[in-house]
Structures are given as structure tokens and as C-alpha cells.
């Protein structure tokens, strides 16, 4: 286990190094950060002075070394756009995004798995067919449209839910703010979370259904039935449990992408999370924020992958973590 963990850690460092190099190179071509700091109308004298101050006038390799050295010291620099330390800017946005992603994924799991099981067990039922049709809509509906639809119904027409923002937040400790402890915060998270979950519900449901149908055809399920075990136990304990490994993998990856790329949903609801930050940072060529953001997202994916590996073992006792650095 320790060997496995340390190997994983080594891989993580490699991934992060590659990502930071990519981040640096990519964002050099995004545009000139001087625009964000000085605005569209500035004089040549101001620009030269600023570039000199920021060390942007040196040769590129030197700039990269500078960038890596300060990153290794945990110094991601200052946001060009906001004038604040990048780490704090990110730390302020992470709770909003995490809560949104987790609530959205929870909704998706609570609806997606039962719906998948149901449609697999009764493939020809009317309800199953309706659910399948609805899931097709869910998969194909763009999330900005879904968001606007919800806003139109629940904010403009009914006036029940706020159309933007996070509501009132409560500070937990020094780093985390949560909207889940206030009524306005709960109201505010509902529509964005549903918007995020719609696609996930449809996907999880279809995945569970397909896996389940396959599992139901396997010999051990048939034998279990033949032995006279009650249908509920067979369906849930034997069939469903065997479908979960791929579901966990996909859910893990999807969770990573919701955290990293909920750009559209966050923009529609002015949700003060990472997605909104990303979009605004791209427009301003705010390179320090963008690089740190990429590194953070890489970290999220690596962590989630690691956790899903551990989850496999819990779900399926036949899987063992080998010391060769993977699953055997």
C-alpha cells in the first residue's frame, strides 16, 4: 500500500509538472496581460515601464524559470485582474464550486441510479419508456438553455428562487464559506445544481441501465434467482453491486469535470466559483490565475482518480491494489 501510494504521488508530481509547463506556454499566447492592467488606452511609456516592473521584458526561458521557482515556493503570484494573491482568489472560489458540484452530483446519483435500475428491470414499461425519452432530452439540452428555462419559470414567473448568486453565506473556519446553512443559500444553489445534474442524471441512468441489463443476464444472477432468493436482494445486492465499478469511474471523472468546467452554468447563474473566474481571467489574460487554476484542476483529477481506485476495493473485494502501481 505504501509503495502504491508513493508511486501515485510520483505520478502526480509528473502530471503537475507537465501541466504547469503547458500552462505557461499556452497562456503566453493568450494575449498581453498589460491590457488587463493598463486598459485599452495606455501610452507606450507606461507599457514599457510596466513590462519592466513585471519582468515581462526578459527572455522567455528566464521567465519560465522564474515562474517555476516561485511556484515551487507556493507563490503563484498576484492576479493581474484583481490585484490579490492568486492562492487566495482561488481559495475564495473553490467552496462555491465544490458545493455546487457535490450537490449537483448528489442529485444526479439519487435520481440516476434508481431510474437506471428501474428502467433495466422493466424495459418495456410505460414509465421506463418515458424516463428514457426524458433522459435523451436531458443529454441533449445545452446547460445554458436549461438554466435560462429554470430562471424563467422559478425566478421571473413564480418568483420563488433567486436568479443569480449564492445567497447568504456562512464562514466555516478561515477558508471555507458555505451557502448550505442558510435558507437563501439553499434556495440559490437549487437551480444551478439542477442545471448541472440534468446531464449527469441522464448519463448515470443510461450507464446503470446498460450495466444492469448485462448483469441481469449473467449466470450468477440467474442462479441466485433459481435458488429462490427474493428479487429485491438479487437485483440490488448482486446485480447492482456488480454494475457499480464502471459507474464509480465515470462519476469520478464527471465530478472532476464539473468542478473544473462548470463554466456555462456558473456564468448563467453568476455563481461566484471557479468557472466564472476562469472565463473572466481568460478575457483579461490573467496568466497567474489561469496557470494556478490549471494546476488546481489537474490536482483535483489526480485526487479523484486516486479516490476512485480506493473505492473499487471497497465495492468489489476481488480487486486488490497491487504494489506495481495499479489495480490487479
Amino acid at each position: 500500500m505504501i509503495v502504491y501510494l508513493s508511486q501515485r504521488l510520483g505520478q502526480t508530481v509528473l502530471v503537475l509538472a507537465a501541466v504547469s509547463l503547458l500552462a505557461f506556454l499556452m497562456f503566453r499566447f493568450l494575449g498581453d496581460p498589460v491590457v488587463a492592467i493598463l486598459g485599452a488606452n495606455s501610452t507606450g511609456l507606461q507599457r514599457d515601464e510596466l513590462r519592466r516592473q513585471m519582468g515581462l521584458d526578459g527572455p522567455l526561458p528566464l521567465q519560465f524559470i522564474d515562474y517555476v521557482v516561485s511556484m515551487l515556493r507556493g507563490d503563484f503570484g498576484l492576479s493581474y485582474r484583481l490585484g490579490q494573491p492568486v492562492l487566495r482568489v482561488l481559495a475564495e472560489r473553490v467552496p462555491a464550486t465544490m458545493e455546487l458540484a457535490l450537490v449537483g452530483m448528489a442529485i444526479a446519483l439519487c435520481i440516476g441510479i434508481p431510474a437506471g435500475v428501474y428502467t433495466a428491470l422493466r424495459p418495456d414499461g410505460l414509465l421506463s419508456r418515458l424516463t428514457m425519452a426524458a433522459s435523451l432530452v436531458g443529454i441533449s439540452m445545452p446547460s445554458f438553455f436549461m438554466g435560462m428555462l429554470l430562471i424563467f419559470i422559478f425566478s421571473v414567473t413564480l418568483g420563488w428562487l433567486p436568479s443569480f448568486g449564492r445567497g447568504e453565506t456562512v464562514r466555516l473556519g478561515s477558508l471555507w464559506t458555505t451557502g448550505l446553512l442558510t435558507i437563501s443559500g439553499l434556495k440559490a444553489i437549487l437551480m444551478p445544481a439542477i442545471t448541472i445534474s440534468v446531464f449527469q442524471i441522464a448519463m448515470i441512468m443510461r450507464l446503470v441501465r446498460a450495466q444492469m441489463i448485462e448483469a441481469l443476464r449473467t449466470d450468477f444472477v440467474r442462479f441466485a434467482r433459481a435458488r429462490g432468493l427474493p428479487g429485491r436482494a438479487v437485483n440490488l445486492r448482486h446485480a447492482l453491486a456488480n454494475t457499480l465499478v464502471p459507474v464509480v469511474t465515470v462519476v469520478g471523472l464527471q465530478l472532476g469535470s464539473i468542478i473544473g468546467f462548470a463554466v456555462v452554468t456558473e456564468t448563467v447563474f453568476q455563481w461566484p466559483g471557479l468557472g466564472l473566474l476562469f472565463l473572466q481571467s481568460v478575457a483579461a489574460a490573467d496568466i497567474p490565475v489561469l496557470s494556478a487554476f490549471l494546476v488546481f484542476i489537474a490536482l483535483v483529477f489526480v485526487t479523484i482518480n486516486f479516490l476512485t481506485d480506493l473505492l473499487y476495493v471497497a465495492i468489489d473485494p476481488r480487486i486488490r491494489l497491487s504494489d506495481k502501481g495499479g489495480i490487479a
Partner: protein, 527 residues
């Protein structure tokens, strides 16, 4: 695990308790929705109207404008020109910053010095000025050369507290050299009617009424909540659902719909922002073109493009009626504006083709023109239409649209053959455009700093400088009108339209709309 949660719960209980005990007897909150947030709370770090507007609720300049848009006293009670380069100011006595310290001449001297710093976006407004305090409330401002617009420029320089800035190490607008966080990015200390109560960038900024404010307010708003909402439909939905009281940048496509809503009203004004195209007027061989010459140096080619543009069609279709066609680069309401120049040509493609042939391009020529795609209202769409209209007279334009972070550096380097620009004069005066866009480039003197066409004409420089330095306002205006006629007739720029500014608000809110898109909080009333 449990502990922080309990602390959080305790926090809620505590905060509701505080609200009951220490809140004012009544609150009247104005909730403002805008497309973008103010980028900073530093009054000198960002020359963007959104930031200027929000900060003008907290900070105040020496001079402001009244409702007729004439200059009016703010922190300065009076100012007189004692000789061509010296102005004497008298500060209003008894004015206090939000932290309780008194306003004095030293604060003004400090502010102007700070505004001249490298990371200040207002450096060109105060270039070369020196402030000499005479006593606590009197000071002289000396400019390097006679400048009739000096008071107008000071409108954009809100006064900061010297002590407060020194105490918080906020001596420059942004300190990127030392990679040091700017205290002023999140904190403010002005003399204005509202003080900064809380700020969460990109989500919410709350301002609270200062009871002892020295000046008059039209309304009795006790709290201002500034909410940036980037997504157009959401911003409009939030106004419709009653979550906002006023939206200061209404998307063109929603204006008609909002007008029909009984709970809302719409206010419009012609904005000080003219959208036009400029050309490389210097190179002998056009850089991004398939010709060995520079066709744009020939006035007939520029005239041809001017004739090719169907401004009414652009305004009607792309801008949905929210623009006023024009053929000059100066908007109405500015000193030097001549309405006769708004309609100098009408679309005439045949004549345009004829002019191209006379200039030696009967089959047109191919070239690339640059446009931003996230800077002006519908910029990319306007440029696409522009490309179509130019190809209708036989030219072969290629559109190169890009984000502003790439666009402006390209234009700054004068690395363009034809470019789009939206420009306004911050001083309600046409001299700014002439001096910065048409004089030969001299960054040190602040001349031609936005001369992206590379115009270099000593005779023109002389004429502009003469108008600039003319002390008689009437003569000066006549000289400027003559200059605008000349550059319009010679088609230095192909202008399209002035943008129209639209505010939408709930029925109980009223405010005048200024053509420079400056929401003046002192004029807003709420019933």
C-alpha cells in the same frame, strides 16, 4: 469536524442578533446590476467607466458635473486661473474622510503624485502637474503648458487620504514589482456619500450611507448593492423578477421587451462612444495586403469605403436601432461638435467603385482588417457586416477578429492595416481625440498616443496645437470645428455610429442618464 459547523451556526445566530439590535430604523436599498464588476477599489488603477462609476459613490474629485453637465464644485469650493499655467484651488472646509480624518491640501498633492505613477491608468490626465499647498485648504496646481482642460481632467482624479494610504502601504495603484497585494484592491476610504461596507469581487459589493456626508443627495437611499451579472439574459431576468432595481447595461435585444413591462421603465441617451475604422496611413507598402502599394494613403480609396458603408442598415440590423449613424468621430454634446458633419455621405456603391478605379484599383485589392470581439457592443458582428459592405464595391477584405487582450497589443504596436476603434473624449471636448489620435506620435508629450494610423503631418500638428493652446474659448471651438471638418472631408476615419446607452429600472427608481455612462448616485431617487 463538528466544531466549525457549530461556529458557523453561532455565526448565523450572532449576525441576525446584530441585525436586530444595531441596524438603522429603516433601510432603503438600491440594487444595481451591471455586466461587469469594478475591477478594483483603487480609484487610480482602472480607467473603465464601470469602476469609475462605482468608486464615485465612495470617492470624490475636486470638481464634478451638475445635471446640465457643466463643471461644478465638489471637494474644491472654487478654482481660478491665476496665470496661463497656474490654477488656485480652495478646498471645502470641514470635509472628512470615512475614517474620520480631515481633508487637506496635502491629500490632494499626494493623490496627484500617486495618479502619475507607472501603474496608474490616469497618468495622462495629470501628466506633468505639480501641486503646491499654500495652506491646509488652499493649493496651486501648475501645468507644464497652458491647458484649458485641466479642470475637466481633474474630474477623473478622486482624492485619497494621504495618511490612510501611507498607513496601508497603498502608495501606488498597483504594486506589481514587489508582487505585493494592493490594500486598495479591496478597501476604500473616500469622502463620498457611501462607504464601502463589504466587497466580494465578481459577486457583490455593498455600500452604506455615510450620515455625516457634506453634500446634497437627491434621494434617501441608505444602502447600495452592486451586483455584477455577466450573463445578459440572467441580468434581465433578475430585473424582471424584482431582484434588481436598475440595470445599467441593457442588452439591445431585450429593450423592446422591457419597454412593454408595466413595472419597468427605460431611459436612453446617445452615448459618447463613436465606433469607426482607421487605416495605416504611413507605410508605403500595406503590410496585410496583396498589393505593393498602400492604397489607404489615397484619399479616393478611403472615400470609396466611406461610400460603401450603409450606416442605416448596420444600425437597424446589427445594432437593433440602438445607435445613431454618423460620419465623424466626435459625438454630440462635445465642445467642437458640428452636426453638419454627421451626414456628409450617403451610401453610393457605384461612385465608390468608380473612385477605386480612378485610384488604380479597378479590381479592388485584398487586405486584412483587425477587430476586437469582446470590447464594443456587437463588435465582431459589425465587422462582419463591414467586410460584406466593402466586398460589395470590389474590395477583398479578410476579417481578423480577436479578444481584446490580443487586439490592443497589436494596435499599440501599429501592427495593423485597418482597425476598429470605439473612442470617446472623457472631457466632453473634441480636443482629446485630435491631440491623441491625429498628432504625430510623441509619448513623452502625450501627443498622438492613440495615433494608431501613424498620421504624421507637421502642418496638421501645428493646427491642432494652435487650437489646443488657444485661450479664447470661442476661437478655440471654431478652430476645432475647422479641424473636424478637415479630417471628416479627408476621411481619416470611416465612422459608423454613436452607441445609444440604455438603462432599465423599476418604476419607483429615477435617474438622469449621462452620455458618458456615469451613473451619478447623488441624482438617483427611489420612492
Amino acid at each position: 469536524m463538528l466544531k466549525p459547523t457549530w461556529r458557523g451556526l453561532a455565526g448565523i445566530i450572532l449576525s441576525t442578533g446584530l441585525l436586530v439590535s444595531s441596524g438603522p430604523a429603516w433601510t432603503k436599498t438600491l440594487r444595481i446590476g451591471a455586466q461587469a464588476d469594478a475591477g478594483t477599489m483603487d480609484p487610480q488603477a482602472q480607467n473603465i467607466q464601470t469602476t469609475i462609476t462605482l468608486l464615485s459613490m465612495i470617492y470624490e474629485p475636486l470638481i464634478t458635473r451638475d445635471k446640465a453637465l457643466n463643471k461644478a464644485p465638489a471637494l474644491a469650493e472654487s478654482w481660478t486661473q491665476t496665470n496661463p499655467t497656474t490654477w488656485r484651488f480652495k478646498l471645502r472646509p470641514g470635509v472628512k474622510f470615512h475614517d474620520g480624518s480631515a481633508l487637506s491640501s496635502a491629500d490632494v498633492a499626494f493623490t496627484i503624485l500617486r495618479a502619475q505613477g507607472a501603474t496608474s491608468q490616469f497618468a495622462s490626465y495629470v501628466a506633468g502637474l505639480t501641486v503646491t499647498p499654500v495652506d491646509d485648504l488652499t493649493f496651486d496646481i501648475v501645468s507644464p503648458r497652458p491647458d484649458q482642460l485641466l479642470p475637466d481632467k481633474l474630474l477623473y482624479v478622486p482624492i485619497m487620504s494621504k495618511l490612510w494610504s501611507e498607513k496601508n502601504n497603498a502608495l501606488t495603484p498597483q504594486n506589481l514589482k514587489d508582487k505585493q497585494e494592493s490594500y486598495t484592491a479591496l478597501n476604500a476610504n473616500g469622502t463620498g456619500p457611501y462607504r464601502l461596507a463589504s466587497r466580494a469581487p465578481d459577486s457583490k459589493t455593498v455600500l452604506q450611507r455615510v450620515p455625516q456626508y457634506w453634500g446634497p443627495l437627491d434621494g434617501d437611499i441608505t444602502e447600495v448593492v452592486w451586483t455584477p451579472i455577466a450573463s445578459d439574459p440572467t441580468r434581465v431576468a433578475a430585473l424582471l423578477s424584482g431582484e434588481l432595481d436598475i440595470v445599467i447595461d441593457v442588452p439591445a435585444q431585450d429593450v423592446a421587451r422591457l419597454q412593454q413591462n408595466a413595472d419597468l421603465k427605460i431611459a436612453k441617451v446617445d452615448e459618447f462612444r463613436t465606433i469607426f475604422f482607421g487605416f495605416d496611413l504611413k507605410s508605403d507598402k500595406l503590410k496585410y495586403a496583396d498589393t505593393d502599394r498602400n492604397p489607404f494613403k489615397d484619399v479616393r480609396v478611403r472615400q470609396a469605403i466611406n461610400l460603401a458603408v450603409d450606416r442605416d442598415a448596420v444600425v437597424r440590423t446589427v445594432m437593433r436601432g440602438l445607435a445613431s449613424p454618423t460620419t465623424q468621430i466626435l459625438a454630440p454634446g462635445n465642445v467642437g461638435y458640428d452636426p453638419a458633419l454627421d451626414r456628409t455621405v450617403t451610401t453610393n456603391r457605384e461612385r465608390a467603385r468608380q473612385l477605386l478605379a480612378e485610384a488604380g484599383y479597378p479590381n479592388g485589392f485584398g487586405f486584412t482588417f483587425d477587430c476586437p470581439n469582446d470590447r464594443y457592443v456587437n463588435d465582431e458582428q459589425v465587422c462582419k457586416t463591414m467586410a460584406t459592405m466593402m466586398s460589395q464595391i470590389g474590395l477583398k477584405p479578410t476579417l481578423n477578429a480577436m479578444p481584446r487582450a490580443r487586439y490592443f497589443p497589436k494596435i499599440w504596436d501599429r501592427d495593423t492595416s485597418m482597425y476598429m476603434m470605439g473612442f470617446n473624449s472623457p472631457y466632453f471636448d473634441g480636443m482629446y481625440s485630435l491631440e491623441t489620435m491625429l498628432m504625430t506620435r510623441d509619448d513623452k508629450k502625450g501627443e498622438g498616443i492613440y495615433n494608431y494610423s501613424n498620421v504624421a503631418d507637421p502642418a496638421l500638428d501645428k493646427e491642432i496645437a494652435a487650437a489646443r493652446d488657444e485661450m479664447d474659448p470661442r476661437k478655440r471651438e471654431a478652430m476645432m470645428k475647422a479641424l473636424y471638418k478637415k479630417i471628416t472631408d479627408d476621411v481619416f476615419f470611416v465612422s459608423l455610429y454613436n452607441q445609444v446607452l440604455v438603462y432599465a429600472m423599476r418604476k419607483n427608481v429615477s435617474t438622469p442618464v449621462r452620455p458618458d455612462n456615469w451613473l451619478e448616485i447623488r441624482w438617483v431617487t427611489m420612492n
